[in-house]
Symmetry: C2
Subunit: 612 residues, 2 copies
Amino acid sequence: MPEQALEWLAELGQQLRVDSVRCSAAAGSGHPTSSMSAADLAAVLLARYLRYDFDAPDDPRNDHLIFSKGHASPLLYAMFKAAGAISDEELLTFRRLGSRLEGHPTPRLPWVDVATGSLGQGLPIGVGIALAGQRLDRLPYRVWVLCGDSELAEGSMWEAFEHAGYAGLDNLTAIVDVNRLGQRGPTRHGWDTAAYARRIGAFGWHTIEIDGHDVAQIDRAYAEALATSDRPTAILARTKKGKGVPEVENREGAHGKPLPDPEEAIDELGGERNLRVRVKPPEGGRGGHRFPAEPLKLPAYAVGDKVATRTAFGEALAALGAARPDVVVLDAEVSDSTRTEYFADAHPERFFQCYIAEQQMVAAAVGLRVRGWTPYAATFAAFLTRAYDFIRMAAVSRADVRLVGSHAGVSIGHDGPSQMGLEDLAAFRAVHGSTVLYPCDANQTAQLVAAMADLEGISYLRTTRGNTRVIYRPGEEFPVGGSRLLRASPEDRVAVVAAGITVHEALAAADQLAAEGIPARVIDLYSVKPVDAATLREAARDTGRLITVEDHWPEGGLGDAVLEALADTRPAPRVVRLAVRAMPTSATPAEQLHAAGIDAAAITAAARLLAA
Amino acid sequence: MPEQALEWLAELGQQLRVDSVRCSAAAGSGHPTSSMSAADLAAVLLARYLRYDFDAPDDPRNDHLIFSKGHASPLLYAMFKAAGAISDEELLTFRRLGSRLEGHPTPRLPWVDVATGSLGQGLPIGVGIALAGQRLDRLPYRVWVLCGDSELAEGSMWEAFEHAGYAGLDNLTAIVDVNRLGQRGPTRHGWDTAAYARRIGAFGWHTIEIDGHDVAQIDRAYAEALATSDRPTAILARTKKGKGVPEVENREGAHGKPLPDPEEAIDELGGERNLRVRVKPPEGGRGGHRFPAEPLKLPAYAVGDKVATRTAFGEALAALGAARPDVVVLDAEVSDSTRTEYFADAHPERFFQCYIAEQQMVAAAVGLRVRGWTPYAATFAAFLTRAYDFIRMAAVSRADVRLVGSHAGVSIGHDGPSQMGLEDLAAFRAVHGSTVLYPCDANQTAQLVAAMADLEGISYLRTTRGNTRVIYRPGEEFPVGGSRLLRASPEDRVAVVAAGITVHEALAAADQLAAEGIPARVIDLYSVKPVDAATLREAARDTGRLITVEDHWPEGGLGDAVLEALADTRPAPRVVRLAVRAMPTSATPAEQLHAAGIDAAAITAAARLLAA
């Protein structure tokens, strides 16, 4: 590259620094020093390697740029300004109420794929996008992820390195800004880029160590990444936090705050500039690969048969996959248990085995969704807790992602509490904009699996390990936000609100109660969020006495959802909440339900007392 | 070693296999094949290297044995039988209701330190125990962790490899049972032990690759681990799942179920044996190191001053540390924000910097607790979601662990939703046996921090980023399970239930309402779990109208806790729940509280409507 071009790139880097300083100063907060270390890396990428049409962010051929170190948002926004995507005026709205330029990037900006800011998430999500490029879209776009050195301490980064290395994702480049300083002080390895290169290289990546402030070295590294086939590349760039401003450069205590003297800093950086980058447009054919579609033929189960809802989920998902070529499925090495193996057998090209790495699985689902695919990701309900931060952040990303947890509750039986999902309803209800579904029979499961394909935000389906009786006819509809009255009469003296496995216990209890002359209503509350408040209020009005029964801890699940729905109801019903209150041990499923006090006998006993 | 000794070890391995087969057959479930692969590794360890007094499991000098692959519980229980700790009769109670021999190990057995069964947790916990040995107890005990090859896909394992390698934990040995097969099929790397050795070696560990069925090789590997100083050792042992029984050996589809023909299998393994191992006793001086203690002098704050509860937490923790030499503190690279830096400065020997690895942080806390230390672990409330599976499992372990989440809620201001803990109350309430505390002022915080030191199970303290007014006098007491009436009169027409930041909004609202002639009760519900139901019921009876207000999503937090407490109250009060209902963006703390509808103005407006 001619000297002049190198100088121009260095100037662009300084502009990105100045703009990072300026917008943070205007906001009175932000992370300018973490932006300044990566400014030269960003400048060369934007001017020479990124292929992106800022006027058409939905162009499927566009590259993807993710700031895994989301706190360097000033740098990202300075890049957007240099590319002409936002004005200088908008840049200075950083972190203000109403501005799209939030403290950490979110997809409120059309050029931001996903929200970042919880560290260690951008690279795993980038792996998902790269997988889409390699296996689904089959387009030559590249994924560039700017990582911090501190976040390499997160295990999720190593799940990503392993997944990408094994998959040979040569369309993925991790740019690690090794500025040596974390939030509160030095990182473990400081400027020892070789320490990182050894680790990342051991996971099958090509690694390049460079001076991250030398634009010629940076340029050669990106070119080398482009030229590397069969494996992803990590660029380990030695940089200085706060580079270019002596008062903060390479100093502790300067993280996450505006520069002490922004005017002086801008002077030291050579003043404001207004360089404009003509970002290269994307290349290649317009659309991506698409899979064929057939009419939807969901499985049908005969009433009275015994079928596990997890099995119905798997069979319905495989059927849905034939009708919906956008559906893709991920699993964390338990596909024989969750039953996603049926989809994997039917549609191997759209199945992603993530091994035992739940964080990477959810992140990959988010990444596949970025490219418009419709992901379902499944593991044991208990193990989705492993990915709770990723799920929380997926909601901030406004990602439409479907998660399925099998082996819910004590009813799994012998395996014991480590394998029992007992907090999943609470965790998923507390995700912004989420949908929480918990079917009790196979036909209902099939309908809900199909409905999930069109839901927005995070949706969650809870399935049961053991076989349960089919009680609904094939093709019956179960709208999200609805419920089903399984027993109802005007004389009902108590209403039992159940979902999943406990619906069957509630039905048995209602039969027993009927024999004892206590008519009991049974509500199948398969939609735990949103909840069918109207039916619950009607039950409260008609009976005045509700029993909620759930295979879950007492907090945050079905019982709380019912109490919330009834908080305004007058006259208020009496509500008894049956749930798992003691730590389970190993036992048969029936023994477990009995020990937890959520079986038919417990419901019957509670109803007798309540109706007395 | 003489040939005879090697033969005896091989025989012991066969006994462990036979007993794994027998107890799984008796249970009708379990993981015998995953036990059989590691049986020779276990035999040599038990007979020649483990130092443990099974009659005195609390002896501080004992080694620690953790089955990170907890599903190999039949092997563990077979070892206990061989050591004489349990009878053959008890072995055959495996997985039955009432048996201590659960499907996955739990500390209901005195020789089990922690519950395992969610993969990728045993090694990080082992790191915690090894840290205790190295830095706190200063005893020569060793930590032996049996790992599966599948679980090496979990990022948490790599957090552990990094932490242990960096800390030079030469008292830690990871024994990896590379049996090539996961639950549903082959692992990524199969029998390529070199692939694992490269990765683990890059993290600073000594690695040894062996044939895991050759007792002489196994013996030499353990000896080499003992002889290795300054760094931990990983033994990569190539093994066969189901070793010794042709019907299942090295075959897919044989995971997690009893052998098809147990009698024939036992024959093939040479029949039942009853070898008894004399396990070596622990060595070295009796007790461990202890730190000095001073009288407790909690910080005192003047009423009317403005102090962040996170600051009070940090100052109280440092003071507590002087009085309680058992208190140890962990942080995930945000100690300047959480304020654990005050403890780190005062008691550096008892502070553990975990860098940005929240799973390893919580695991290390559990490990330190195994050795009787009293851990407090802190990071942003939002980032504790990263460790939710570890927290869930810590409850199964009956571990007494204190977790502290700072930067709760929208009130953090500009940084945006990625940094806001908005689901933490729901997540922690849904942990079995947990305590959830949320102070509103500095003196209250100090008292609760001290009280946490003696709590059992998982306790959680939620702190606030910004300064809040000190409203309680130094030394006032705040029992767990209590609440405080901040405004109360017999004429109250509405009661506002708040905690943390919203207490101050509630007080401002009550002042405004009083000026308008609407007397309002204000309850500081600092103990969210357990909750002070009596005070809430009294407020319901006195006023008939409650407003709950929380800086948290509507689900699973303060509002739900109040509804649960009042479910039986007659007449039922009207309850309005104010909470964060829209995805926040960046804004000032005051703008955030206003936008979320949880500030004084929102409370006042709700109270006017309710009391009208």
